[in-house]
Symmetry: C2
Subunit: 118 residues, 2 copies
């Protein structure tokens, strides 16, 4: 057995940094392949191949426009990624809450044992 296919999952697709860069660029709106080539400095086949992977997992969609193909983000799939990671949010929030508690406690102690900041 080997590693899961990059086209098996949005998670596998975004593992590659170049593809994340493409997504970031497309966040500014629909773009043609050559626009991405110019903007990111990749070769044209590279960009086309990365887009093909992301089309396969529905991270982007393409529409024809003359000789161009305009790519745009698929919000729904990005949202799936977001929804997976979101529940973990409570981990650092809890941590901050606890830290807040500690700070409050320290402040209370400080008020009792000292007359002000040093």
């Amino acid at each position: 057995m080997a590693r899961a296919s990059t086209t098996s999952d949005a998670f596998n697709a975004i593992a590659e940094g170049a593809r994340r860069e493409v997504l970031e660029a497309l966040a500014d709106g629909e773009m043609a392949v050559n626009d991405l080539v110019a903007r990111l400095g990749f070769t044209q086949p590279q960009v086309s191949k990365h887009l093909a992977v992301m089309r396969a997992v529905d991270l982007v969609t393409a529409r024809a426009d003359g000789r161009h193909r305009l790519y745009s983000l698929n919000a729904a799939t990005l949202r799936d990624l977001y929804e997976w990671i979101k529940p973990f949010e409570r981990l650092w929030n809890e941590r901050l809450d606890r830290l807040d508690g500690v700070v409050a406690e320290l402040a209370a102690t400080h008020r009792q044992t000292s007359k002000g900041p040093s």
Copy 2:
């Protein structure tokens, strides 16, 4: 050249579904390796190897406890993932806003051209 190492990135690390399952399990709190083995039904070497990958990218941390090693999530690294995906949130929010607009418009039109639901 080949695919980026699974240990090069938190993104590459979470590409594997089994590792995401481990993270989900650890969300319930610190666990020993065998706890994960029992809970997820993986073999012990599998779990140890996945944990090693996630240790390498700082997704989890381990502490010794007698013969056991207790693993826990590293909130900071999970947060990095969250922070990357979060800016895309506006994409589906915008879309919903626009949808709301359309719905409102349709409702207004409906009020003008019809006397009720068909």
